[in-house]
Amino acid sequence: MSAHITLRVARYRPEEESESRFEDYEVPCPSDWVVLDGLNHVKDQVDGTLSYRWSCRMGICGSCGMLVNGEPKLTCATFLADYAPGPVRVEPLRNFPVIRDLVVELGDFMSKLTRVKPWIVRQVEKPLSEGEYRQTPDELDDYKSFSMCINCMLCYSACPIYGLDPHFIGPAAIAIAQRYNLDSRDEGATERMRILSEHDGIWGCTFVGECTKVCPKHVDPAAAIQRYKLQSALDWVKGVVLPRAAQ
């Protein structure tokens, strides 16, 4: 294995240039170095102006998502040695506006996330004196896989529908909505359905399935969206056949 590998990093400096361009950096390539280690090496030793997001280095914070050789990846979980002899192309996440170098604009995703009410909605809160809302292991299993989302936005980057129509609410927001719908303590499914049944909600998805493939936490947003569609269609049929019961 070569001792070094070339990182081909997309650079965009808005005060200097209107297009992004690639710059090559030689970085060490020990077997335990991930792409993020390579970027940190560049920042520390070669060019301190390189900008990118990162925090935990252990696949939890969801900050360091980038395109590695065109694939959306968490750079803290993507080993350089797997790309030897290189070069390794590192670009900002696709489908998002780039602020600088590898840093993308998050505002669109954050506002979509809050639209789906990603918290437990109760019609009436029970008093503290009645104790906690208890849940069985089976009830936990219903939503646990969807609760693993770390908001890394790799699914948005992989989704061609979001690329073509930025108003589409997107895979993670729908998966997180489903996480709360399936929670036995939650009573907000109807409110969320109203939001997600809109034009730019679940029906925007054409089931490409890439969101599920790139998810580093195995959340399966594509499944969440299709189940939502099924539920929405059943609700509609119920409303037509049994209008009173559906109310």
Binding site: P97, V98, G107, D108, S111, T114, Q226, L230
Partner: protein
């Protein structure tokens, strides 16, 4: 959070990459997805063919013979062979995706995904067997 700070398409300093018209050729999975979407046209064609057959049958034996002659034309034959390939792709891809969309519980236990896909294939096999049997028995 300020909702107005969401998507601001005309921010002058942000760099945006245009999505290419040919984005679906950039990755194998995107290309397969587009093939699956296009396969709906083949499904539509077979529905139209069935309706044309029904119309031909209403014209009696002569009408039916004319219809058969028409389907033997090389262009129609090629179209039907191509459409059949697309319909097979349509069936296989959707059957394989069905477990993602359906959560079926039997006695409180979730039915594994492969069983949901297998039940789709079993339904297809059963229907095909019945149709072939009807044809062989010349009902």
């Amino acid at each position: 959070m300020n909702r107005n700070a969401a998507y601001t398409p005309y921010h002058p300093r942000w760099h945006r990459q245009r999505v290419s018209t040919y984005w679906w050729l950039e990755r194998r999975s995107y290309f397969l997805f587009i093939l699956r979407e296009v396969s709906s046209v083949a499904v539509g064609w077979f529905v139209a063919l069935l309706l044309l057959l029904v119309r031909a049958l209403s014209g009696g034996a002569a009408g039916y013979q004319d219809f058969l002659e028409w389907t033997r034309h090389p262009v129609v034959l090629a179209l039907n062979i191509g459409s059949f390939a697309f319909v097979c792709l349509h069936a296989v891809t959707w059957f394989n995706l069905a477990p993602q969309a359906m959560v079926v519980r039997v006695a409180g236990t979730r039915v594994p995904g492969w069983m949901i896909a297998a039940s789709n294939y079993a339904a297809l096999a059963t229907t095909t067997t019945v149709v072939v049997a009807l044809l062989l028995l010349r009902w």
